[in-house]
Symmetry: C3
Subunit: 262 residues, 3 copies
């Protein structure tokens, strides 16, 4: 059974979610729709891109990922389908895809009748495109190729690092209040070279980055590398975001003991 | 695979939702249950009817729609199954169905053992009825026919209109804070006959009803006809409900320039 | 199609839920995953156990129930699979299973490579274990047997009762604000022997325990035995928790008229 995943900011109080699913089942009742999240913050493309980026590779190659976030924002935003890292995506060229992956993308602009005003493209355009791809149709059946480098770009915060310092940012606060940063375990280990480090943010300094969550006591601040390989700051059985004032984009700094000249 | 849709005010913190689904799977493991919404406001029959009315026709004809909203309110509320617009419904005769559709309905009262006190009819009565219908059984297998005009009626706000004026109401505030009204595009166009119009609500006057959402700037008020063909008042990237004070039942008025005598 | 149910405190804003499901589908695309709840209060093992205990028996025997609540709390918490009441469970030995059922359990400790730090055992360990069991593999394929009486115990509040009195507690406040207690209909009826009773909590006294919800007026306090056979205190069309100050663990007392000596 082919899979379409579905990521949106639709929430769960209205008919929007079911309207898109109904359309999908009308086209092909044998498709399995898997909800990623429908509680992406309203219009927040970065939130949605973080969530989908964190999980799409866990699905079988060839899975189709339908993205419904802020699709009506700008008049000239194109509706696109893309093949990225052996997965298919259907959504709006509003910056989302520049945050999703930096790997090469094959992109088509989805053709539709522009005389019809679109107030619900996810139902009236994306559902059909996603079902086509999930049913094995070719990407180019949906519309003409466009150059991936013409897609809208949103610039995510870049890490700064030198041999004694890494400066990054919080890129997601999860449902538990854990603050996930853009500092990868790989960069940390390459930079640390076994040296001690101090993690700083706001007025806090944490002496050690732990490998496991459960070595600490309730209320302790824990910094560890999570399943995504990213540094995550948590409070055991509490909200790091609330208790430490960590929010989306908060700066995070790791400094390493300078090597002593001998 | 037959489909049962499921609309409720159960929320998602408890076992209620899963209890109904488990019962359905016990009767027939090959049925696909599609959630419409379980975050209908508690006991709010009008909210639930708006949501299901907005989407049920998007499902294949013959789909069964199970409705679990305020089923225990009144001692004499009947449990019913109905065929309306080639779809099947199972729920409580508490006014919900009068708000769902004004088309002809074939209705049966679902028989059950009235010596057993029902505290959870959705699990103990509706699941079986929905599975029966989804499995192709006849409506009359569930109980005797009752006249559709004996169903409880809730009166929805009616539009008033003359040749220069339409007066309607907000009938739903969605998850984004968009205010959806009962003023249809069809009525608007018939009345407008190409004339200019002014939309008024509270202290606001909007000179133009736009056809597309994205012609405006962030924070602008946008009035457009949505995918349901209904006038919707939105704030671009904001909540019209909060910022404009629009709530369920708020009055909305459209006045048209009188024709000038020549 | 085999069923895996899924109960967690993951919420629905992040990728955690989809990450576990993707792993399950990668192992076996023909498994149906049914969400019980993902809005269990964070780390609240008692809440999760109440919800799953209230519904797991409604699923077909042999169903696998994956539990993801507070899995990283303590370093020595084992990951276990268990067979209880002809159902299978996969989760963490953190006290959850002692609250789930008092029936005999066959338990195995799930083996995994302890050199790999586990920050997401639900995805990396539980998904595989659940799919194995759902695919018909033996419990002992997952790891060695451990004695059920070595599992961590959390003590739930015990009822006190004598021939004129039952003292219990609120064990769950549901999404409507209904307060569900640990006082069963069976105990009540055995104790009452047809006598009148007074239900007391806080400053309230309720003279009668009703059998049906709808005999009361809006705003009335209703006490009835629910579908689980447990005494539940509700406010018709209101929140008993808010209006009566009933919370998890609030004491509830039922006193019966003493028999009069003749």
């Amino acid at each position: 059974m082919a899979i379409i995943t579905f990521t949106s900011d639709f929430g769960t109080r209205d008919h929007y979610l079911a309207a898109v699913k109904a359309r999908i089942f009308n086209y092909n009742p044998n498709i399995q729709v898997i909800d990623i999240s429908h509680n992406v913050e309203h219009y927040n493309v970065a939130h949605g891109a973080f969530v989908l980026n964190s999980v799409f590779r866990d699905f079988p190659k060839g899975t189709v990922h339908l993205v419904a976030i802020n699709s009506l924002n700008e008049a000239n935003d194109k509706y696109i389908a893309a093949r990225i890292e052996d997965h298919f995506f259907v959504g709006t060229d509003n910056g989302f895809f520049s945050l999703l992956s930096e790997k090469p993308a094959i992109v088509v602009e989805i053709l539709f009748d522009k005389n019809v005003v679109q107030t619900f493209p996810e139902k009236n355009i994306f559902a059909f495109a996603a079902v086509s791809l999930a049913s094995g149709k070719n990407l180019y059946d949906l519309g003409p190729n466009i150059a991936a480098n013409t897609l809208k770009r949103m610039v995510s915060r870049k890490l700064k690092s030198n041999k004694n310092l890494i400066e990054g940012n919080v890129i997601h606060v999860d449902n538990y209040g854990n603050a996930i940063t853009n500092i990868s375990k790989t960069l940390f280990e390459e930079t640390a070279q076994g040296r001690n480090s101090v993690l700083s943010f706001g007025r806090e300094n944490v002496e050690s980055i732990q490998t496991v969550y459960h070595q600490s006591e309730n209320g302790d601040c824990v910094a560890l590398f999570n399943d995504l390989g990213l540094l995550e700051i948590a409070i055991k059985n509490g909200s790091a975001s609330q208790l430490l004032g960590l929010h989306y984009d908060s700066p995070i700094r790791i400094s390493f003991s300078p090597e002593i000249a001998v």
